[in-house]
């Protein structure tokens, strides 16, 4: 296939601005700034059907249209926090194809009237950040950033910012708080960032991959983009394949490909083992079984199976996987990453992990499974942000699909082949 987002795989040295421009780079920005009004840019992105690639799937053009018109400070913030378990697409884009992200962000800034772009990298991605900073320097030198871009009235600056290790900072309001020098904790919406975001000014927060689509839409048009993927989920998507597949990595596909096809693309099941389950949205989506393998990877495709596409970070598990262990791993993650602001999440994730530990360790009772479900159900829908909802997904979905594994544990017959390791946090007694 011809890549649209992972074009660096076809074009050597695409991270260099000369190479990027030789392959049509910054033509989208030229078209937007020199030929289109800000409203026309928003209208094209809205008509393209592009939706947020960070996981939430909110229509990008609609998000941009929420920004109040007229004078005043506004901001574009790129979300390169990418901390979802199983997700590693934005890192590749930032390191290997940074100009496409930068160009998309500048177009976004032009459309909403922002003079400043911040790219919020997770702190662990400093190498990716440095690659992007080099590209930013090139973009300034070429006149695509700074004052009077392409000789127009439009001026824009671009800064990279580094977090310091907190999953919650991928949530847009927590990210904004973190960028303001506060604890990375979400706030209760409203106010929405489009009205009162960074420094209490209208702000658009877009995922890295989302913005990488924008230059192509500008150049090729909304209809072209709508022709890719499916009617309700147009376009292409980078899928992060990890776990028990032969060839883990990023795969760029048109929306609508099935999960079975994705596993085949990734070389099939590792060692020829039998498929058992997968997490379609990193750690935050409910697991699906072989019954859902032929579902299309779209924003709606997994609805009949009570799951979501999310960020399309597909963690594949084979027959050797102990599903209680997998749920425990994810519970440990969410307990660790809960920001602590709201009680159901802070306390609930702690208790879920504690109960799962007890069950996994062979000290659980049938009542513990009931209590586990009860705790999970008291977290869902009762938290400021989606972290609490995410945290319960691996737990409830593994209980739903693999109840026999839970039952076996509480009946004292441990069927887990995975070893416990000293690295795991001990359960407080």
């Amino acid at each position: 296939m011809t890549y649209l987002l992972l074009r660096h795989r076809d074009i050597p040295d695409l991270h260099q601005i000369d190479v990027y421009q030789a392959h049509g780079g910054y033509n989208g920005l030229r078209k937007a700034v020199l030929e289109m009004s800000t409203q026309e840019v928003i209208d094209v992105v809205r008509a393209s059907g592009l939706r947020g690639r960070g996981g939430a799937g909110f229509p990008t053009g609609v998000k941009w249209s929420f920004i109040p018109k007229g004078p005043g400070e506004k901001y574009v913030v790129i979300n390169t926090d990418e901390s979802e378990t199983g997700t590693f697409k934005d890192r590749e884009l930032s390191e290997k194809n940074p100009h496409q992200v930068i160009e998309g962000a500048i177009i976004a800034a032009y459309s909403i009237g922002a003079k400043t772009i911040y790219n919020y990298f997770r702190g662990e991605f400093m190498d990716a950040g440095y690659a992007m900073e080099e590209a930013i320097r090139e973009a300034y030198a070429a006149g695509f950033l700074g004052k009077n871009i392409l000789g127009s009235e439009f001026s824009c600056d671009f800064y990279c910012h580094y977090g310091a290790g907190a999953y919650i900072c991928g949530e847009e309001t927590a990210l904004i708080n973190s960028l303001q020098g506060e604890l990375g904790q979400p706030w209760s919406k409203p106010p929405f960032p489009a009205v009162e975001g960074l420094y209490r000014k209208p702000t658009v927060v877009n995922n890295t991959e989302t913005l990488a689509n924008v230059p192509l839409i500008m150049v090729n048009g909304a209809e072209w983009y709508m022709g890719l993927g499916t009617d309700k989920s147009p376009g292409v998507k980078i899928v992060c394949m990890s776990g028990h597949v032969e060839k883990p990595g990023n795969y760029e596909v048109e929306m609508g490909v099935t999960y079975r096809q994705l596993i085949e693309m990734a070389g099939g099941m590792r060692g020829g083992k039998k498929f058992k389950a997968l997490l379609p949205s990193g750690g935050s989506g409910p697991v699906i079984t072989d019954k859902a393998l032929d579902a299309p990877m779209t924003y709606e495709g997994l609805t009949p199976f009570d799951s979501v596409m999310g960020s399309a970070s597909v963690i594949v598990m084979d027959e050797s996987t102990d599903m209680v262990w997998a749920a425990l791993k994810m519970s440990h993650f969410f307990k660790h990453e809960s920001c602590g602001k709201c009680t159901p999440c802070r306390e609930g994730t702690f208790w879920m992990e504690k109960l799962l530990h007890r069950i996994y360790d062979g000290h659980g009772t049938p009542q513990d499974i009931i209590t586990l479900e009860s705790v999970a159900n008291q977290i869902g829908g009762r938290t400021l942000c989606a972290l609490g909802d995410f945290a319960i997904n691996p737990v409830l979905s593994t209980i739903k699909h693999f109840p026999e594994e839970y039952r076996a544990k509480v009946q004292g017959s441990s069927n887990g082949q995975m070893k416990q390791v000293a690295a795991r946090t001990a359960v407080p007694s």
């Binding site: 973190s178 776990g243 598990m317 390791v421």
Partner: protein
């Protein structure tokens, strides 16, 4: 004092934001780079530069996992053993690393060179087992590659200046 030593860098960081407070995480990264961890003095320095209450910097140091509030080794080896990596042997890799270094997770070798930690997803699940060493990613690891990494780091450590050598510390139990 980072205010003097990194005056130009700090000025550049402050210029990016309309408020001083936004510069707190970058300055904390700078302070940790300088002192090896976020000591009380480092926190106070950052707070003083930005006109913040030191308790705010303290709360940030506790919130964000990349800041170390206790002394750590010269090289912090943080192995991801989250689910996606664990499916590809990260737990066993942690055990091997712990045995090879002779320290438990969160421990530091007696020579003060290595601290071993486990961390949540680092965004390199396709290249597990992997770790970050002082924010540099080392990927597709196995026992032999880990041994080679330790050898390389030990060799690098020998290149330290005399000052660094005589001020490096060993952390007791």
């Amino acid at each position: 004092m980072i205010a003097e030593k990194y005056a130009k860098e700090i000025e550049g960081i402050l210029a990016r934001f309309p408020t001083k407070k936004s510069a707190v995480l970058p300055l904390m990264h700078l302070a940790q780079h300088e002192y090896g961890y976020m000591s009380d003095e480092a926190k106070r320095e950052v707070a003083a530069i930005l006109g913040l209450d030191p308790t705010h910097v303290l709360s940030l140091a506790g919130f964000y996992s990349l800041y170390y509030e206790e002394p750590v080794g010269k090289y912090v080896l943080e192995i991801c053993n989250d689910l996606a990596c664990a499916l590809r042997g990260a737990d066993e890799f942690v055990e091997m690393a712990s045995a090879k270094l002779g320290i438990p997770v969160d421990g530091t070798t007696e020579d003060g060179l290595f601290t071993l930690k486990t961390v949540m997803c680092l965004g390199a699940c396709d290249r597990a087992p992997m770790l970050q060493c002082n924010l540099r990613f080392e990927e597709n690891l196995d026992e032999a590659k880990f041994a080679a990494l330790l050898a390389r780091l030990r060799q690098d450590a020998k290149q330290l200046s005399v000052v660094e050598k005589i001020t490096s510390y060993a952390i007791g139990e």
